[in-house]
Symmetry: C2
Subunit: 451 residues, 2 copies
C-alpha cells in the first residue's frame, strides 16, 4: 500500500461501467492498450516522457476499500451488474498486468506509444483515466522544461510555479517533471523532500514592504541568512536598490529582478555591483518568463545568471494538455491475440501491440519506426555508423515493478543526454525541423488490411 | 485534522525562509494580505470565484509534523534561523487568522480581492503559495465552465476532463469547480463521492472494439444496463451504427457522437432514430468541445441534447493560469494598521484593507467599487432602483471556519443566479462588454498619497 491506494474511484464512470460490464459478460481475456499522443501540440517539436513513476505507483497501489465498494453499490449507473462484482471481484482487486514503457526523460514523438498495458480486459480498462492524467501532465511539463532549459543555454533554471499549478499536488508533480526536463532546482519544498530535488528561494515583495524601509528589510534578511541572501530589487526602484546594496558592505549571493526591462536593468545592475567588487553576486531574473523571453535575454548577452520560471512550467501554459489517448490495440480471442483498430474519422488507431525503434546515425537520433512487436527482431537491418534501439522496455510484470524508482537526478541526466542526441534542427525553438516517424512494413500492412 | 493536514511543506521555499525570518526578527504583528487577479485573462469577461472551501480546509488543517520539522532543520537555506523556530514555534503552529472572501459561485472582476487574510505576519506569509494554487485553479475552471454553460443555452453539460487534468487530484477539483460554474454532472466518480455531484458516463471505443462485432458490443451492454445504455456510434461508421440501433428493438437512453461533423451527423441520426419511434433517445456530443464549438452547434439548431467537455474545462485550456497574486496591503506598526504598497512598474498594488461593493440597478449588477474598508459604511449612497452589497464576507475567525461547507448544488445555484444578474452584454462569448470596476474615493486618495 502507498499514498496512492485511495485512488480507485479517481476515474471516469465509464471505466467502471465497462469494467463491471466486462466482468458481468465474462470478457476477461488479456487485452493490450497503448497510451500515446496523436500529434505534437503547437510549439513542440518533441516530447519528454515523464510520469511513469507515479503511474506505476498508482497501479501497484490500486485497491477498492470497503467505503469505495459501498459507494459503487449505491450508484444508479451500476444497477444491472452481477452482485459478485461487488462481493468478490472488487474486494480482491489487484492490478495484475504487464507494462512496457518509454523510460522517463527519453524524448518521444507522436504517435509512438509512451506506455503499453497488457492485462485482463477489466483491469486494463479501469486504469485508463488515471494513467492518462498521470503520464500526460508530467510529459507536458517535462517537454516545456526541455525547451526552456535549451533557451537558457547553460544558465540556471529554477522551477517557481507552485502557485500557478492546478492545485497543490499538481505543483509537486510539476516540479518533479520540470527537473526531469532539465531544471536545476525548484522552489517547492514538498517536491524537494519527496524527490530529493535541490530547493531554492529568495524573498518576496512582502518582506520588503513589511518593514518600514527597504534598507532595514535588506539588513534584517542578511542578518539572518548571511551570504546566502538574495535581495529582490524591484519593490520600489531597482537601480536605487542596487546602488544601496553595492554600498552596503553586504555580499549577497544574488539579486533578483522581477519586473521592467530585464536586459537593460541587468546590465546597469551588473555595472553597479561590479564597481564595488560584488562580482560574485549573481543576477537572477523572474516574472512571466518563458523560453522566448529567456532566449531574447540570452541572445542579447544580458548578464543574467539564472531564471525563475512559473506558469510556463507548472501549467505548460502554451500547451496545457496533450490530447493523450489510451486505446485497445489487441485482445485475445480463443487464446489468440487479435489486433483491433478504431476507424473514427481523424481519430483512427494503429492495430496490434507495438514497439518503437529509434534509429541513430553516429550518435544522433534520425528516425523512429513504429512496428508491430511480433515482427521478428529489429525492423531495419543496420550497420555502423547506424544503430537501432527499442524505446519500450518492460517496467512491470504481473502487477509488480521490475525495479525501484530511479533517482530524479539520474532521470534528469538521462533526459539531458538523450535530448542532446536529437538533431539540433529538431531541438531549436523557432521553426524546428520535423523529426521523422514512420510505420514499419508489418504495421503498414496491418493498417491496410483493416482499411 | 483532515486530509489536507500534511500540506505544510507544499509551499515555496521563500515562504518558509521569510516566515522563519519574521519569527527570528520578532516581526509578528498582524498583517493583511489580499489575493486577487490583476486583469482578466484572454477570452474572459468575468471570473467565477471557486476554491474557497479547499482554501479553508487547508488553513484549518495546517500542521507541521515531526517529519516536516526534521526535514526543515536539515535545509541549508534555513541555517541562521533561531532554534526556537524549530523547537517551539513549528510544533505548535496553527493558523490563527481571520479570512474574508467572496463566496464561491459569485462572479468577480479584477482587480477586486477574492480573499483577504489577516494574521500574524509569519502565518499570513506561509499560506501564500497554497492559497493561490487552490483558489486560482478552481476559479479558472469555474469561469470557463460558466462560458461553456452559457453557450450550451440550457442543454446538458457534463464535465469529462479527468484524463486531461494536471494529475488525479486536479481532476477531482476541476470537476467540483465545473459544477460550480454550472455543469450538470461529471464523469469523475471520486468527485461525485466527495462532493455529492451527479455522475454520468457512457461507453468508450474500447468496449466496441473489444467485442468481435459492434452489434454484439451494443447488445451485451444493453443486456446489462438496459434503458440506461448510451451507445457510442462512431467507432466504425456513425450512420450505419445509428441505423442498426434504430432497427434493433433496443431503446437506449442516448447515443454519443465523438467525431466528424456533429451538426450534420446529429440531424441524420435524429431522423433515423425518430423514424423508428426512438424520440426519447437523446443525442450527446463530445470530442474537443469548447464554448465556441458548442455555440456553433446550438446556433445551427442541431438536435444535440447534451455535451461532454474535457480539457476545455479541466485545464481551462485557453487560460490555464490566472496570474493571481497575494500581496501585503496593511501591517500593524506600534499597534496602528499602516497601509503598504509596492510600486514595481506594471505591478503596483493598492494599499490598505479593502472591501468590494457591487452596485445593482433593479436586479442587474452594473459596477464594482473597490474601497478601503475603514471608509465609513457604503461607498456610494443609493436609493431604489439602486442597491449596493459587499462581496467580501467573513468566512474564518481565529483560524476557525464560520460555517460548515456549503453543498455543491447550492454553490451551483448561487452561481447561476448571480451570473444571470450580470448584464447580458458582459456575459456574451464574443466581444463582451467590459464591466466597470472603479476605485472608491478613499482608495483613490490613498493611491495618490503613495504615488
Amino acid at each position: 500500500m502507498n499514498f496512492m491506494s485511495s485512488l480507485a474511484l479517481s476515474t471516469d464512470l465509464y471505466e467502471l461501467t465497462m469494467m463491471a460490464g466486462y466482468y458481468t459478460a465474462g470478457l476477461d481475456a488479456p487485452a493490450t492498450f497503448e497510451l500515446y499522443v496523436r500529434e505534437l501540440p503547437p510549439n513542440r517539436s518533441f516530447l519528454v516522457a515523464a510520469g511513469l513513476e507515479q503511474a506505476l505507483a498508482y497501479l501497484e497501489g490500486l485497491r477498492f476499500t470497503d467505503e469505495h465498494i459501498a459507494h459503487l453499490r449505491g450508484l444508479p449507473a451500476l444497477r444491472g451488474v452481477r452482485r459478485e462484482f461487488f462481493d468478490e471481484y472488487l474486494p480482491r482487486f489487484r492490478f495484475s498486468g504487464d507494462v512496457w514503457a518509454v523510460e522517463e526523460g527519453i524524448p518521444v514523438f507522436p504517435p509512438a506509444p509512451l506506455l503499453r498495458v497488457t492485462a485482463p480486459l477489466p483491469e486494463a480498462q479501469l486504469v485508463e483515466t488515471a494513467l492518462l492524467a498521470l503520464v500526460a501532465f508530467q510529459t507536458s511539463v517535462a517537454s516545456r522544461a526541455a525547451r526552456i532549459v535549451e533557451a537558457a543555454a547553460g544558465r540556471e533554471v529554477v522551477e517557481f510555479g507552485a502557485r500557478r499549478a492546478h492545485g497543490i499536488e499538481a505543483g509537486v508533480l510539476a516540479a518533479r517533471a520540470a527537473v526531469i526536463g532539465g531544471c536545476d532546482s525548484t522552489s517547492n519544498v514538498e517536491a524537494g523532500r519527496r524527490y530529493g530535488i535541490p530547493v531554492s528561494g529568495t524573498m518576496a515583495h512582502s518582506w520588503v514592504t513589511a518593514v518600514p524601509t527597504e534598507i532595514a528589510a535588506f539588513r534584517q534578511f542578511a542578518g539572518i541568512y548571511g551570504d546566502r541572501t538574495v535581495f529582490l530589487l524591484d519593490t520600489y526602484d531597482t537601480i536605487a536598490a542596487a546602488r544601496w546594496v553595492a554600498a552596503s558592505g553586504l555580499a549577497p549571493a544574488a539579486v533578483r529582478l522581477d519586473s521592467g526591462d530585464v536586459i537593460a536593468l541587468s546590465r546597469e545592475v551588473r555595472a553597479i555591483l561590479d564597481a564595488t567588487g560584488l562580482r560574485a553576486t549573481k543576477i537572477f531574473a523572474s516574472g512571466d518568463l518563458d523560453e522566448w523571453r529567456i532566449a531574447a535575454i540570452v541572445q542579447a548577452g544580458a548578464p543574467v545568471d539564472g531564471f525563475g520560471v512559473g506558469a510556463a512550467l507548472s501549467t505548460s501554459s502554451d500547451a496545457p494538455s496533450l490530447g493523450a489517448i489510451y486505446k485497445l490495440v489487441e485482445i485475445e480471442r480463443g487464446g489468440v491475440p487479435v489486433p483491433v483498430m478504431k476507424r473514427s474519422p481523424g481519430k483512427q488507431t494503429y492495430p496490434g501491440r507495438k514497439q518503437v525503434w529509434r534509429l541513430f546515425e553516429h550518435d544522433t537520433a534520425v528516425e523512429d519506426i513504429l512496428e508491430v512487436e511480433d515482427a521478428q527482431g529489429e525492423p531495419v537491418r543496420v550497420e555502423p555508423p547506424y544503430a537501432v534501439r527499442p524505446l519500450l522496455v518492460p517496467v512491470m510484470r504481473g502487477g509488480r515493478r521490475e525495479r525501484p524508482p530511479v533517482p530524479l537526478a539520474d532521470l534528469r541526466a538521462r533526459q539531458l543526454a538523450a535530448t542532446a542526441r536529437l538533431p539540433a534542427a529538431v531541438r531549436r525553438l523557432a521553426e524546428p525541423a520535423r523529426y521523422r516517424v514512420r510505420l514499419g512494413s508489418a504495421l503498414q500492412s496491418a493498417v491496410e488490411r483493416f482499411g
